[in-house]
Symmetry: C2
Subunit: 323 residues, 2 copies
């Protein structure tokens, strides 16, 4: 069993690789678990070195068809496609977002198709595919109406995954990730970056700016549950998806004010007081367009895991990342 992870040097990609290495097996194209022999991490930057010989780093541009053809072959049973230009950057640089979020996805699916092996492809989509006049909660059958270029590109990529699957070119599965929080490390250009920053920075003794109002509602998921969701999507039997290969993972619906209140419960008022409220209209507008809650009953019925409480997400982050 050989696996390719795009965006493999990123936070989720590297964490997924570690989880797969620890797991040791993954469902093969024949539906039977097989030992993982190799995990190729493709990214524009080199991943942190791994002592595990099963990890093969490949540095390059995933919009380059020749690179993709080099890393995906007839022996590739599974592809986790996580590489993306994040929301804030895709909004600022339209061409770059189209090239990576749409064109590279299509190239990747074409390369998978050319292997003739019909690999399982797990695509990391996003709740940013939703927008406009949204029902509360958003349903799996709610129309995709993205109000960002990132969301539009993810929605188009989902349509590609679905049609390539229907045609029998690949065996695709698209999971719509909620906002992943709490991420370690530094802020990034995602409009949702603050959703980690307002927890992470105060725990590190730093002030954090919250660019949205306390009542702004987010649909969130912890990193570890997101990773389990990607693996669950991969291993699931094809017919469990029915008419749609896209699924909303079970997130938690929390307001930003509730997130900071949870931080105060878990880490105390001094830590929570490091959050400063400074509204940024550009970010507030993008976030306001995303769903604050989704109906996850389909995902739960399919067996996707969720988080229990945001307090627990913070405690897990502290246990793993705060000395």
């Amino acid at each position: 069993m050989r696996i390719v992870i795009t965006g493999g040097a990123g936070f989720l990609g590297r964490r997924l690789a570690d989880r797969l290495l620890a797991r040791g097996v993954l469902r093969g194209v024949d539906g039977v678990d097989a030992a993982i022999e190799q995990i190729t991490l493709v990214d524009v930057v080199a991943p942190a070195p791994s002592p595990d010989s099963r990890i093969v780093p490949v540095v390059g541009d995933i919009a380059d068809a020749s690179l993709l053809a080099r890393v995906v072959g007839p022996g590739t049973g599974s592809v986790f496609h996580l590489a993306a230009i994040v929301s804030g950057m895709a909004e600022a640089d339209f061409e770059l977002g189209m090239r990576i979020n749409l064109d590279a996805t299509r190239l990747l699916l074409d390369v998978c198709r050319q292997t003739g092996a019909r690999p399982r492809v797990v695509f990391a989509s996003s709740v940013a595919v939703y927008g406009g006049d949204l029902p509360e909660p958003v349903l799996d059958g709610t129309a995709l109406n993205p109000q960002t270029s990132y969301g539009a590109q993810k929605a188009m990529a989902e349509l590609l995954v679905a049609d390539y699957t229907r045609k029998g070119f690949i065996d695709g599965r698209a999971v719509r990730l909620p906002t992943i929080t709490v991420r370690p490390g530094k802020p990034n250009a995602a409009a949702s970056s603050f959703a980690s920053g307002i927890i992470r920075e105060p725990l590190n003794g730093l002030d954090a700016i919250c660019p949205v109002e306390p009542d702004a509602r987010l649909w969130v998921l912890s990193p570890s549950t997101a990773i389990e969701g990607l693996i669950t999507a991969h291993d699931m039997a094809a017919d469990a998806f029915g008419f749609s290969r896209s699924v909303n993972l079970p997130g938690l619906s929390v307001s930003v004010g509730e997130m900071v209140a949870a931080l105060e419960r878990v880490a105390g008022p001094t830590v929570a007081s490091r959050v400063r409220w400074e509204r940024d209209p550009r970010i507030a507008r993008m976030v306001a367009g995303w769903p604050g809650a989704c109906d996850a009953s389909r995902a739960r019925a399919m067996g996707f895991p969720g988080d229990d409480t945001f307090d627990q997400i913070i405690r897990d982050y502290i246990a793993e990342h705060v000395p």
Copy 2:
């Protein structure tokens, strides 16, 4: 006011051009009606010659960026993008469908963007963007879940139109056309071709094969009302669209059996008896995936016209096309 119609040699394209010539004016990018000076008809085949000097035929491949750059310029106020690979052909030739239905649409929008003039772009989408487990009727807020490559490509193109519009690159409007019937001329490779054939051929004294069951339900629109819908979409104020630039035109929901019964009422039992029922599983499967009825209340509230009865659609066809 200079207009470009892609697919301009086709049935709808040519008919739209004639209607625009007769009308003489069209809403400009400034929101004011302006006299039509030129209509460029772009198509892979030459359109029937026109005595009207405002018609400029251009024969070429709309997936060719240089051709598009030649026909769309800063003086282009409006583009009607009707060119497409029809459903049956897009299913048989995946690459061709992607190249024309997706790539050429994107090239066209890019060329429109490059003019800097933010032209009005009316995109002919299709109810084939819907599929899977559909509510009856399908709502404007129902998720796009195409079960054909044609539908997937139209859905992706709608997302492009919406995002290019949101970014201010164009002023786009996508109308989801019901099955257009009764079309004159010959059968084509659309899976819905029979929906015209079962009326047209019997009226011409020929037998027609119906490849679906009598209870198969179609969402249909007459050619002339479809043309009015395209023009209505073009002339509508931008803010009338709200959060979505895609709209389901008001069709009629009729079963194929009801269509043949209407033919018998209008043209008599001898004519209607020329319909032969021979199920074609490939076509029946594609048609079964399309909505049989849509909720057109949004389109009607916006002022889009509909047809009264299928009997009237047949009578109009006879008046125009049957000697």
